[in-house]
């Protein structure tokens, strides 16, 4: 346990960093807390940026994790528009981009991840956007509207959610995916097909196996996307959503262990006992799968904020969790529990045509992951089964006339 008057410095004021600052106070940490953020606004929720916020159904106040005055009231020194540039581990000091530096007892890296930028001709044209921050979302919202055409480079969740929002705003959307199917990196074939059909029903166009080689523009503004086969897809704006890389440079230059993410343990501690790391930037153990990996999700950011807050304040570590995530597109709620590692069988419960079904990924008779479409019981019970590692009767699981409670009780 850390001294109760220790100065905790959190670098990165996203969902993970903001949550940790609040939890430290909730758990009774008495010492100073400093929260350093690159963006000009206090921590906010990113998931609505591609959904409710883009459609104008949520405002800045709703997005904010806490109101601005919360930080002063709780003696959290929130410093916007500044980032960490160098860690001096011997002196326990963090140098900041504004030329000042901070002494810390505990340092927490919550620097997140950044969107991958395509190193192709025309990538710096106006109208080529990404979606990570509130400022990105503001720019995207301003560019969308009736009669506009948005090319989405990358058929992942962010691109699909943005396409759904674009349609709701009366804009056209064309999704360009390099792989033979959308969601190829993150979902199985059944789910890919379901979402493609869903989006096509709402007027979204898809080009798969489409390798983007450049952008065309006029007077500095994007007008089209060039494909490897020579085709040019006309557009008024292009949203690039092809994955993210961890902001691990600060840790790397300080000599901390990194490996496609800052390496941490289940207390969210790095290879330096005075430095923690939480959220998208980390590579962390996940005991139920017996492996370490990096997760980009809100639930993981919250979980690691809890792990670090418990370790710093001397509370018992939170119980092991089952990772999960969600996505909303049109009237479809997708809830995913677990990660599809090492599975040897895919089992569909229910009829995809009904818009209500779940896909279970199994290893032997254990559930590794479940993707549930408008199916909370399958998600909630599947999540418990993944965490408990209890074997299931696959025949009963595949039969939607047997309730999930009965399946799990067997």
């Amino acid at each position: 346990m850390t001294s109760p008057d220790a100065h905790v410095v959190i670098v990165g004021a996203g969902h993970a960093g903001g949550t940790l600052a609040a939890l430290l106070r909730q758990y009774g940490h008495a010492g100073p807390v400093t929260l350093v953020g690159e963006e000009p606004i206090p921590p906010y929720q990113r998931p609505p940026l591609s959904k409710a916020w883009l459609k104008g159904e949520a405002d800045a106040e709703t997005l904010a994790l806490k109101p601005l005055e919360f930080y002063a009231e709780n003696r959290i020194d929130f410093r916007p528009s500044v980032c960490g540039v160098r860690i001096d581990r011997d002196q326990k000091r963090l140098a900041l981009s504004d030329g000042t530096d901070l002494a810390y007892d505990i340092l927490v890296l919550a620097t997140g991840a950044r969107p991958i930028r395509l190193p192709i001709p025309g990538a710096d044209l106006e109208g080529i956007l990404e979606l990570r921050t509130a400022a990105d979302a503001e720019a995207l919202k301003g560019a969308l509207g009736p009669g506009r055409t948005m090319a989405v480079v990358g058929g992942g969740y962010i691109g699909l959610e943005a396409a759904a929002s674009a349609r709701a705003l009366g804009a056209d959307a064309v999704v360009l995916e390099r792989e033979p199917r959308i969601l190829a990196r993150v979902a199985g074939e059944v789910l890919s097909t379901f979402f493609r059909t869903l989006h096509e029903g709402h007027g979204v166009q898809f080009l798969t196996g489409a390798s983007v080689t450049g952008f065309r523009g006029e007077a500095g503004r994007v007008t089209g996307v060039e494909l490897a086969d020579g085709r040019v897809i006309d557009c008024d704006l292009a949203l690039v959503g092809v994955g993210a890389v961890p902001n691990q440079e600060l840790a790397q230059e300080a000599g901390l262990a990194v490996n496609r993410g800052v390496v941490v343990d289940l207390e969210a501690r790095t290879s330096d006992p005075s430095i923690f790391a939480i959220g998208d930037v980390t590579l962390r153990p996940m005991p139920i799968y017996g492996r370490d990996f990096r997760m980009e999700s809100v639930p993981n950011a919250l979980e690691q904020a809890k792990q670090a807050a418990c370790a710093i304040t001397g509370r018992p570590a939170p119980a092991g969790e089952t990772p999960w995530q969600w996505s909303d597109q049109y009237d479809i709620k997708l809830q995913i529990a677990g990660y599809n590692f090492d599975s040897d069988q895919t089992l569909v419960r229910g009829d995809p045509g009904s818009g209500r079904f779940a896909i279970f990924h199994l290893k032997g008779d254990q559930v590794q992951a479940v993707e549930a479409i408008n199916s909370p019981p399958e998600f909630m019970m599947g999540r418990q089964l993944i965490g408990s590692r209890r074997p299931v009767d696959k025949q009963r699981l595949a039969d939607p006339s047997i309730s999930m409670k009965e399946v799990a009780a067997a």
Binding site: N74, W326, K333, P376, P377, M380, Q384
Partner: protein, 106 residues
């Protein structure tokens, strides 16, 4: 505006004002009330903002949607007065609302 009282499992009371249109969950989270995790931020995707609505207020908080009902069905310690706080919208008629929090949100 409505005054909401949150009673933690250990009896600690937190009283906060909530603006009309916000959800009861948002009022709790923005004021750092312990015991409401609200992992999904109000998307009705996680069931970690489970509360027990005081009997006198049950009717005024409205009907549960099928999605909420279904999520709650798998939460721990569910009672007939269980709700997901993200699905209760603040309205003038809810001034004085009292909700109790479960021991944990898992």
């Amino acid at each position: 505006m409505a005054k909401i009282t949150f009673i933690q499992h250990d009896g600690t009371e937190h009283v906060h004002e909530g603006k009309t249109g916000l959800s009861v969950m948002e009022v709790a989270v923005k004021n750092n009330v312990p015991g409401i995790d609200a992992d999904c931020g109000g998307a009705c995707a996680c069931a970690t903002c489970h509360v027990y609505v005081d009997a006198a207020w049950l009717e005024k908080t409205g009907e549960k949607t099928a999605m909420e009902e279904s999520m709650l069905d798998f939460a721990e310690g569910v009672e007939p007065n269980s709700r997901l706080a993200c699905q209760i919208k603040i309205a003038d008629g809810l001034d004085g609302l009292v909700v109790r929090l479960p021991e944990s949100q898992h």
